[in-house]
Symmetry: C2
């Protein structure tokens, strides 16, 4: 999982958030940021995010578009026991495989229901329905698991549950070179460094450079310049060149 254990290949990913409650604004998503941080840390580059409604056609189309394009697709949401939880069925449909109660998961759930003294109703056992051929992704928080089918990792929508599932599946993922970054903070507006910043970007086209204005209080504003590369030497060289240019322009950094 270290920066040196990967290969030169880019390992890419998409995040697919499933749920009407995000689109209506009722629930504010907290999973995109967490998965993005996690992927960056382990050397997987998130290239796209989509949020879709709890509608079969939308979910199936998004899963198939994204899984064809990226190394991994992480989905969140729609794997609970109620009628609006249709993610597992949609994944089965997207892959053209069957779906049924998974014997081990069913046993796990029934054991858990017994301990909690709740009835193993049909609705509750819906959470044991796993597409054929999928591997289970453990849920240490609330038992009902996620799963991994091909390159698609299906996780819960509740952040605490999603997070343990993500940790649980991580050792099974291919990871690439870790994306490294350097941030230079200036107490100047973007417009002041745009030209020299663009020149530095031209000189290092392999080191993506982004500029992010911020304001902390009413009158405290500035710009963060972020340089990114999987190659620590190129990153250091680009940083040095940018700092030279900032010095030449009398901009403290």
């Amino acid at each position: 999982m270290s920066a040196t254990s990967g290969t030169d290949d880019v390992i890419s990913a998409a995040i697919l958030v499933i749920g009407d409650e995000i689109l209506s604004g009722r629930t504010k998503d907290k999973n995109i940021g967490h998965i993005a941080d996690h992927c960056t840390m382990i050397g997987i580059q998130v290239k796209e995010v989509r949020v879709v409604a709890d509608e079969e056609d939308e979910i199936v189309a998004a899963v198939n578009a994204l899984r064809a394009r990226y190394t991994y697709v992480f989905t969140t949401g729609g794997i609970g026991p109620t009628h609006d939880d249709i993610t597992a069925d949609c994944i089965a449909k997207a892959f053209g495989v069957g779906i049924d109660h998974h014997p081990e998961v069913k046993a796990l759930l029934i054991e858990n229901f017994k301990r909690r003294n709740v009835e193993p109703t049909t609705a509750r056992l819906r959470m044991a329905r796993i597409p054929d051929g999928a591997e289970i992704v453990e849920n240490k928080v609330s038992v009902a698991p996620g799963f991994k089918l091909g390159n698609v990792i299906v996780m819960a929508g509740i952040p605490a549950v999603m997070q343990v599932m993500l940790d649980s599946v991580t050792p099974r993922l291919k990871t690439g070179k870790k994306m490294l970054s350097v941030t230079i903070e200036l107490m100047r507006p973007e417009g002041e460094i745009a030209d020299l910043f663009a020149e530095t970007q031209k000189e290092f086209p392999d080191v993506p450079m982004g500029s992010y204005p911020f304001n902390r209080e009413a009158r405290v504003f500035g710009t963060q310049l972020v340089l990114r590369s999987t190659d620590p030497n190129r990153l250091a060289a680009a940083e040095q060149r940018l700092r030279e240019r900032l010095r030449a322009a009398n901009i403290p950094a």
Copy 2:
């Protein structure tokens, strides 16, 4: 803008967030939730969200896919003065129109630069580049405006700036019937109400119903049942039926 002023038509929207910093996890998006809330409030249904990188092909493809499909597309990010701000050019390319300095916007910016005693550099004047045929969307916070071209509304990434742009463009948007909702909170797990909830959904297929588990503290958990409709009568009828079923099952709600 009231629930009665709209038409029966569904007014739909997509949100397109543009920026490497969201995909890397460096910046946590705050705009999706705000735009979703705003749209719900004014009777526009957000049907899809995408986040894409600062890459021309990705942005152009997403803009064209989404604008063909929804009444409106709201974009955020990539309209500053630095080389990674390519949204305006991508919108022009997506629509197949030219892009140049907009005379009024240029005058606005130059006036503002004078007042702040900063030089009107080429980089700074990049923010006056607006695709041909676009209408300006005012920015009361930091002057450099957003714009509306066809059904695509282009806004800043900084939340405070995006929010004033959204308010500014709102009177120009068609709005539909307002989506109303009712939330019933139960101190019971989802599994316990899944069957009666599914039955109620079957009885009211036109009133989408979602179930959202929550836990407030370690041992305080429950479920929120959310019913949604643009028709207050159907919503009330569905709510009444669901409450009857909950009572019959001895579940306090």
